[in-house]
């Protein structure tokens, strides 16, 4: 069957009424989560992870996986979009990928063009989603076929490359990012070894035999961590929200932003495909590019609509692009996609090249639902922008304890163990202190998700080579991956030594 045939099957799946409902709920909650101060896309997806698993518990595993991932992906896009709403109206970016949007978006809002900025952001996101969808359809299957020819050695090196890329761009200090990556990989070794059946680092505690639960750690680190941050550092100063006037953009606005949207979408997609370089970098590069290409670069920073249209398209394009390595190679390139991958693994669906042959419904259903999610975002956001802007006012004294309660409820509903609740709290506290001191959390989650796979592939490769480590270097593809991995770490280090400022990708 051709890719288009699969895609139409995917649309049939995504258009089933309950999946439409899940996509709608996902986008709605995602936008709300993105608008709310203190929870970004990562914590939003983490927070809803247990909720979706209980929502979908009635259906067959494969259907449940498709529905859950449709909902979570909706949350992801919604939160990305919601983040830009606060950037424009409040000058406070909801997440790091919309930092750039504040530069011109807030200025536009001050000039009374908040509605135009918001709707251009929605249109740009929609268009970028479309571009990402088309590119995914054409790229996914061929890439998956290439990846199928990989042996364990190639896979091991590819995953090392993925981890190095994320660590290299992962935060203010590469050392800290690497520490977090290794720590995540180590945490993944706890439990009963799947190959030999030996229990490792369990101290005979029954709760540890299955290993540390990914869900608990993700919810703890991201959702609770961010709540604790707000509790500790937010002093509840009320901010002035700019009123949204006319929502539809003018003809001139559309004309001005058409080219930036197109460029941003394509640029964003390709940056998103690269592991480690996520939405934040994409929006940053797009802004720089628009400023360079513009005939009036002096208007940037004073309310140029191009400065909103480009970056907003780019960050959405990047989140679509990030799906490529996740679905075809089984390697998440960012914290959020790592959580999505954890969700798939919870349903026994292994992302990777076999996903397209083993679970075509899940893969193509997700791709189709990306499109539907984007349509919903557009339909939802144009009329509801004013409503969402009101969510910013939610009193935090109610919101924060509720988020804690939802985290506890979610983890308990899935795990049914007090041990996991205590672990959740520990992860929340650790998440707050680590993030506060520039220890990035995304690499840890990535290590935790990839740990078992990276270890199994390493052991398989070493078993076939009788314990000879040269196997990773003797195979040309594997060696290439390892060289790129090393370069990814060394080049930024060299640049830093020469005094250049290296752009980093915070969160993602």
């Amino acid at each position: 069957m051709s890719a288009l045939q699969y895609l139409s099957d995917g649309f049939l799946l995504a258009l089933q009424w309950h999946n439409l409902l899940y996509a709608f709920i996902g986008v709605l909650i995602g936008t709300a989560v993105g608008v709310l101060p203190g929870i970004g896309p990562m914590s939003g997806v983490a927070l809803l992870l247990p909720v979706t698993s209980s929502l979908t518990s009635g259906s067959s595993p494969e259907e449940a996986a498709a529905s859950a991932i449709i909902l979570l992906a909706g949350v992801y896009y919604g939160a990305m979009y919601g983040g830009s709403t606060t950037s424009i109206l409040l000058n406070t970016p909801g997440e790091s990928s919309s930092v750039v949007t504040t530069l011109d978006g807030y200025q536009m809002a001050k000039q009374g063009r908040a509605g135009s900025a918001l709707s251009i952001a929605a249109i740009g996101s929609f268009f970028a989603g479309l571009v990402a969808l088309i590119a995914l359809v054409f790229l996914a299957q061929p890439l998956a076929e290439v990846a199928l020819s990989f042996g364990p050695a190639e896979y091991f090196s590819l995953m090392v490359l993925g981890l190095c890329a994320v660590s290299g761009l992962g935060g203010k200090s590469m050392t800290k990012a690497l520490i977090m990556t290794i720590f995540g990989l180590l945490l993944a070794t706890i439990g009963i070894d799947s190959v030999s059946g030996v229990s490792r680092f369990t101290f005979d505690i029954p709760d540890l035999y299955q290993g540390l639960e990914f869900l608990t750690i993700a919810v703890g680190l991201f959702a609770l961590g961010e709540v604790f941050k707000t509790i500790m550092e937010d002093n509840g100063g009320a901010q002035d929200i700019i009123r949204v006037g006319r929502v539809l953009p003018t003809r001139q606005d559309l004309k001005d932003s058409a080219a930036p949207i197109a460029r941003g979408s394509v640029l964003g997609f390709f940056i998103g495909v690269l592991p480690g370089a996520g939405a934040t970098l994409a929006s940053f590069f797009s802004y720089i590019m628009e400023k360079k290409l513009s005939k009036h670069p002096e208007r940037f920073g004073k309310g140029a609509i191009e400065g909103v249209a480009g970056p907003e398209s780019a960050n959405n394009g990047a989140s679509g692009g990030a799906m490529v390595p996740l679905l075809t190679l089984g390697i998440p390139g960012s914290g959020t996609t790592a959580i999505l991958m954890g969700a798939l693994l919870m349903y026994n669906v292994q992302p990777g090249p076999l996903l397209f042959s083993d679970h075509p419904q899940v893969a193509w259903g997700l791709i189709a639902s990306m499109f539907i999610g984007n349509v919903m975002l557009l339909l939802l956001n144009m009329p509801l922008v004013k409503v969402f802007a009101k969510i910013i006012d939610t009193p935090s004294q109610y919101l924060l304890p509720m988020i804690i309660a939802i985290s506890v409820f979610g983890v308990y509903a899935v795990q049914v163990s007090t041990f996991d609740l205590i672990l959740l709290l520990i992860c929340g506290i650790a998440g707050y202190y680590l993030a506060k001191n520039d220890f990035p959390l995304a690499p840890l989650v990535l290590g935790l998700v990839l740990g078992p796979m990276i270890e199994n592939n390493m052991r398989r490769a070493l078993t076939t080579s009788n314990g000879d480590f040269m196997v990773f270097i003797n195979k040309p593809i594997s060696a290439t991956f390892l060289v790129i991995a090393v370069l990814w770490l060394v080049i930024p280090m060299l640049l830093k030594m020469r005094g250049k400022k290296v752009i980093i990708n915070e969160e993602g």
Partner: protein, 152 residues
């Protein structure tokens, strides 16, 4: 950058690395049919973690110690919330979801600066009831609703 925190962190991470190195030595060194045992991966990772921690410790030497520019922190509020969450997590199974969540939310709302106690209580009870009702009645999930000794 916080010099003190990073120093402590590097010591802690080095200790974690050392722990994994030491305890992986007690794990079997080979698996059936393979020379590569379950001990190898954690052993290598542990060593890398120790090296990275050493590097972090080295890097802290060149930090410029900033002047105190700490924003006013709500340490007390934070500690109370952490403690409340701990008690909530610990007693959830014993006293059931409904009572524990209502109490936790009420305390949380008050600690976070809600002035009127009856509003906190109302929202806490409504929220708990909504979550419980939605999950148990509509989605047919199972949660320990009331303490078992209630006999409900």
């Amino acid at each position: 950058m916080n010099k003190t925190f990073d120093r402590y962190a590097s010591v802690v991470f080095a200790a974690i690395g050392a722990f994994f190195v030491v305890s992986s030595r007690t794990i079997a060194e080979s698996a059936y049919g393979s020379q590569v045992g379950p001990n190898l991966f954690p052993l290598i990772l542990g060593i890398i973690l120790i090296l990275l921690s050493a590097r972090l410790m080295f890097e802290t030497r060149s930090y410029q110690q900033k002047e105190k520019e700490e924003a006013p922190h709500n340490l007390k509020r934070f500690l109370i919330m952490v403690f409340a969450t701990l008690l909530y997590a610990f007693f959830l199974e014993d006293i059931g979801y409904i009572i524990s969540t209502s109490i936790f939310l009420f305390v949380g709302f008050q600690v976070m600066g809600n002035k009127t106690w009856w509003k906190s209580a109302l929202v806490a009870v409504l929220f708990t009831g909504a979550v419980y009702g939605l999950y148990v009645e509509i989605l047919e999930g199972s949660l320990p609703g009331w303490p078992t000794w209630f006999g409900l």
